[in-house]
Symmetry: C2
Subunit: 411 residues, 2 copies
Amino acid sequence: MSILVQKFGGTSVANAQKIRRAASKAIAAIKRGQQVVVVASARGKQTDELIADAMEVNPNPPKREMDQLLSTGEQQTVSLFAMACEAEGQPAISMTGAQIRLITDNVHTKARIKSIDAQRIHKHLDAGKIVIVAGFQGVDEDDNITTLGRGGSDTSAVALAAALKAEICEIYTDVDGVYTTDPRIYKKAVKIDQISYDEILEMASLGAGVMHSRSIEFGKKYDVKIHVRSSLNDNEGTIITHEGPQMEGIVVSGATLHKDLAKIGLIGVDNKPGNAAKIFAHLAKAKVVINDIIQTEVNTEKANMSFTVGKSDLADAKKAIEEIKSAIGAQSIFIREDIAEVSVTGVGMRTHYGVADRMFTALATANVNIDSIVTSEIRISVIVDKAQGEKALESVCDAFQLDRAADKRCF
Amino acid sequence: MSILVQKFGGTSVANAQKIRRAASKAIAAIKRGQQVVVVASARGKQTDELIADAMEVNPNPPKREMDQLLSTGEQQTVSLFAMACEAEGQPAISMTGAQIRLITDNVHTKARIKSIDAQRIHKHLDAGKIVIVAGFQGVDEDDNITTLGRGGSDTSAVALAAALKAEICEIYTDVDGVYTTDPRIYKKAVKIDQISYDEILEMASLGAGVMHSRSIEFGKKYDVKIHVRSSLNDNEGTIITHEGPQMEGIVVSGATLHKDLAKIGLIGVDNKPGNAAKIFAHLAKAKVVINDIIQTEVNTEKANMSFTVGKSDLADAKKAIEEIKSAIGAQSIFIREDIAEVSVTGVGMRTHYGVADRMFTALATANVNIDSIVTSEIRISVIVDKAQGEKALESVCDAFQLDRAADKRCF
């Protein structure tokens, strides 16, 4: 019998009515003859409220205790979810991370999964029950409760799907799936039917924010097909899977706009081996996450280098750079906070010429000035003035016909 | 090093400020050189709110899921409590029932404790930490979360004190200790310094409600000295312990008024062996808890019998009695709901004459009519008209000088 994992986020289980609606999706699946494992997050604003409770007693709470506290949010949801199933006459059982022996390392608040006791779950599935697992949580080898950090419930769901060899992992959310771009900016954006792990990873790291990168990496690694879909209706959403032959025809899958960025430039860095490593090792030590790196050799002695970071990392990045400025022989440092990054992503780029050309032409026609350019195998990003971000995104979306389903585009 | 168990009820940990105050009591004890284990209940109205959440999704929730849900209340308190200790620089660790391996049977919502892994707690105590244990909860052999039912956190605390061979188990509450009677009715009531398990058990079952009977029975069985005291100040409260020589001089320790009762009378029951057993076996099957039984032989063929039950059991009791009415040859049944029970309790009664006499004289002087009388080795109860309940209690309290400390009374 095939196994289906369904994950419901906080907004999909925010109150009794929504829990009942989510439960009805699980019950419908079991009636179709599948075995169903549900992974649920904490209800609505529960986690935020618990964090506020903690801050009130201790502004710097020990992480172990934070995990012990926050894990109750998911535990509440899963027991209520099981009750909702039982109210419909459907046998169900809720399980905490500890109860399914979801063993993690002991890095509290961002633990990594080591193993899951799939047998405990199979036993209940085989007894005809829906098994409802608390997302986001596990236990370390000493029975301390751990949490998986941001996007943890997605990771729980994908990891369970892998451990149970599930047919598919459905991620229910309050949108219909993954869109070619942000519909709040580009009203003509359309839902993507199918996309590869690599593309969605590029889009996620560029700020699309449908699922957390970690869960997608997990899905890619363990070959878990993911279906992002709406908890509000029964429409098909977006399937995230390995790149298939049919995807190659699609030049560009989606476009993103990332505005929460800053650019740091280093002018006149000594152009000698090891300097770049020195800079980025130092930034890593300061726990700064680098978005993109752009280096231009100026002459044999001096180079200019710039990189982008999330705004929240800017202060740390600036401090780190000041510390090594003289060691790397940099003449000056400049910072731009008024930038935005517009990117197009698509596995089809690999085999299609002219993607960059089409993008730059669109931007030029829209009178958008390009500050700098970064490319990877499956994406092209440009840095532009923040004030021109929306206009830049729209022009690129139009150029790649992101207002149409992939099979309806023609160039 | 001596071990102290401190239990804080829901009102004593209702908010951040109260949690901090409770934590300061634990820290004070560790600074005095004791090892401290804290047992905490869910915050304020948390449990009620969770029950309401459950009712909203399922008016008849499975008990296993109810336990899974409700146990989160205590888990939240203990993690916040540990954070509050750490905020004061005091190392602390919170533990769920599962984490201390508090193993129970699998009777959800009213599980019985089977064992506790004291070593897990000793390890942390020996490392200088305050160990904060979630009350009310355990796990069965299959890792299902169970709860201990009403008064469960008191039971957890006393059981932990027994398992750890603690010197004393402090029960913090919002009153100063156990009073000679309910101060809301008899304003002159005074705090009792020391009382025996048996006396407090009689008082608890008669409606005094300081601690749940089960935890006191546990304390009696495992020889745990209990100190009921206020979380709002540092005053000495009431010590509950085995009957000591000094207690024998105290004729009456306390008096109680129980108004939530009904009396069922059976007129003209066949006076033959086995009839009483038949009646009460049938009531037990209907899960009716009998308060007191009063039987009066009328003649060799027929007897009158009456018993009291809690109001909440009245409907079930009545139904059960109707069912066997003809089998026991009863001529008629009558029910009185307008009654109250006034009782005096004291281990000293055993060796003192005239307790009943003094009580009945006091009631007569106050013009209270006695409907019926029941006595045990350490208590005398009378059933009176409910309207006269308060007056009856006051007259009895005056007669036994329950407005004075035990060593200040003179007859």
